[in-house]
């Protein structure tokens, strides 16, 4: 492997079992996965398949109970201490008492960036997510889609090469979601980040990803890993092409094979 394609995330036989009052729950079993630098990897599957749990393991928000995982060649905890990733949650989780620019400044303040540096980065990231001019607004003054874009700006503000996104557009309507997907691809092309993206939408996964990880529940596991053959440049219209539909079909087959459609 050259340094260019070195693994950003590398999981070997990873497992995580939650101990609950109803007995152990296997959230993840036997996950083997490599995410290369610059990849856009989507995790898709029904609820309970462990896709969010896997993302939280990468982020050191959950501890695996078996197997191993490396993030940038370090343990997740070391990677977190090195601030190796930005995390975008399902909800925007903006602090309501901070303006949008102050929200973006939050990680920068914590990481000790100077005032001038903070200002420059706020301006740059606001421009990246098309929110220039909204810096002085409070979160409640923005629509849901704009709030989520602000939270993406917050995750982009510091120098993490890895972006972890947990169903960031799940709560938004489809029109806004299409628009944000398109913007996210542009942003990915401009910034060269590695993105791990959790979703439960097949079109979204196929449209965005260079690699699609299909997962299934009970126990949470990976049933298929699909390398996308779509070009990196993707207009919205690509979703009507035969190639797109073929990949979507394969994702659906993977979900069916994992009994994801069974009751």
């Amino acid at each position: 492997m050259t340094s260019n394609s070195a693994s950003v995330v590398s999981a070997r036989d990873l497992g995580l079992t939650f101990q609950t009052s109803d007995g152990p729950v296997n959230a993840l079993t036997g996950v083997n996965l490599d995410v290369a630098k610059g990849d856009f990897v989507s995790f898709i599957g029904p609820s309970g398949c462990g896709k969010t749990t896997f993302l939280r393991v990468i982020a050191d928000l959950e501890k695996p109970t078996s197997g191993s995982i490396a993030v940038n060649g370090m343990t997740p905890e070391e990677a977190r201490r090195h601030r190796a990733y930005g995390y975008v949650f399902q909800a925007a989780a903006l602090y309501p008492w901070r303006t949008i620019e102050k929200n973006i400044a939050l990680p920068l303040e914590i990481m000790g960036y100077s005032k001038d540096e903070r200002k420059a980065r706020i301006e740059r990231t606001l421009e990246l997510v098309n929110l220039s001019g909204f810096g002085k607004k409070y979160p409640w003054q923005l629509s849901g889609g704009m709030q989520q874009r602000a939270s993406i700006a917050r995750a982009l503000a510091f120098d993490a090469d890895l972006l972890l996104m947990d169903e960031p557009f799940g709560a938004l309507d489809e029109i806004v979601r299409d628009h944000l997907n398109e913007q996210l691809l542009k942003l990915w092309a401009r910034t060269n980040k590695t993105i791990c993206f959790v979703t439960h939408s097949i079109p979204e996964a196929v449209y965005l990803s260079t690699k699609i990880v299909v997962m299934s529940p009970r126990p949470g596991r990976v049933t298929d890993i699909i390398e996308s053959t779509l070009p990196r440049e993707r207009p919205l219209g690509i979703r009507e092409t035969a190639e797109f539909l073929e990949i979507a079909h394969r994702v659906r087959e993977g979900l069916r094979a994992g009994h994801s459609y069974d009751e």
């Binding site: 982020a59 050191d60 928000l61 977190r80 201490r81 601030r83 990733y85 930005g86 995390y87 949650f89 399902q90 909800a91 989780a93 602090y95 309501p96 008492w97 901070r98 303006t99 939050l106 990680p107 303040e109 914590i110 990481m111 409070y138 409640w140």
Partner: protein, 294 residues
């Protein structure tokens, strides 16, 4: 939505209730004070008519229940007509009580916040302290107040501080309970976010927990300032009724000066209302600064 009107939404309902209360009060004063008039008439061997009873019950020197205008007259007389340095001035006594209230409230609020911070950040404190905090409030303040005064007096502390400490004893409690809840109010997702930034506990405290707890802090401060006043008044009772609203209440009850008691009560109520209002204004100002939705 319709415009908010000061007259229709504030003045009208409030003044209606006040008028009803005053009417009920007058009627009650007549009924409660009438037996004294009848007894007096019987002793003098004369008959007394209803109109005389009504007139006399409005102006007794030591009525069972003074009429509202008597209380108003007493308040007017003891605030406006007396120098505020005079021992007969209600303003003087109110100031004595207020200073103990404010000192006790300040110490109580600070203590409450400190204990809450400890309880939220330290498991051992959470387990060991909270039951004692709750137990402290099950002891009647009337029982413990004289002991605090006596014990502190024995070690040479007298005057303002012992009274303030009784206020503290009452007022730290709502602050602890409110702030523990407030400091724990951030959502899991907001705490996770801090974790992904590898933020220190101090950073998480100042940038997340503290701002999140502001609405809880001010709500508990409103309760705390009101009971601080109660604490200061109770603290003045066992000191031998030297000065303060508590002393006025006690002296009034020794000598049957019911008008004086009621005047002191109203002064205390007005003081409490003003204190709660000031905390309320501070609350609004802070939330506004924090960009709350108007």
């Amino acid at each position: 939505m319709r415009e908010e009107s000061f007259f229709r939404d504030k003045l009208l309902p409030i003044s209606t209730v006040v008028l009803i209360l005053i009417a009920v009060w007058y009627v009650a004063a007549i009924f409660l004070n009438a037996p004294f008039e009848r007894d007096a008439a019987a002793r003098a061997g004369t008959e007394i008519g209803l109109s005389d009873i009504v007139r006399n019950t409005m102006a007794q020197e030591r009525p069972v229940l003074p009429a509202p205008h008597q209380v108003v007259a007493e308040i007017w007389d003891t605030t406006v007509n007396k120098a505020i340095t005079s021992k007969r001035s209600l303003v003087y006594h109110a100031w004595i009580t207020l200073s103990a209230t404010l000192l006790g409230f300040g110490i109580g609020a600070a203590l409450g916040v400190l204990l809450a911070v400890g309880i939220v950040h330290n498991r051992a404190m959470d387990r060991s302290l909270m039951p004692w905090v709750i137990a402290s409030q099950t002891i009647p303040i009337l029982a413990i107040a004289p002991m605090i005064i006596v014990v502190l007096n024995a070690i040479g502390i007298a005057g303002l501080l012992p009274k303030a400490l009784i206020s503290t004893y009452l007022s730290f409690f709502p602050v602890v309970v409110g702030m523990v809840k407030g400091l724990r109010s951030p959502e899991a997702i907001q705490l996770d976010l801090m974790h992904t930034y590898n933020a220190s506990s101090a950073q998480t405290f100042w940038k997340l927990r503290w701002p999140s707890s502001m609405p809880y802090l001010f709500t508990s401060l409103k309760v705390a300032v009101a009971i601080s006043l109660v604490g200061a008044i109770v603290g003045e009772l066992p000191t031998g009724a030297v000065a303060g609203l508590g002393a006025r209440l006690l002296a009034g009850s020794y000598y049957g000066q019911t008008v004086q008691i009621w005047a002191a009560l109203f002064m205390a109520a007005a003081l409490a209302a003003v204190l709660v209002m000031i905390v309320g204004l501070a609350h609004t100002a802070v939330l506004k600064r924090m960009g709350a939705k108007p």
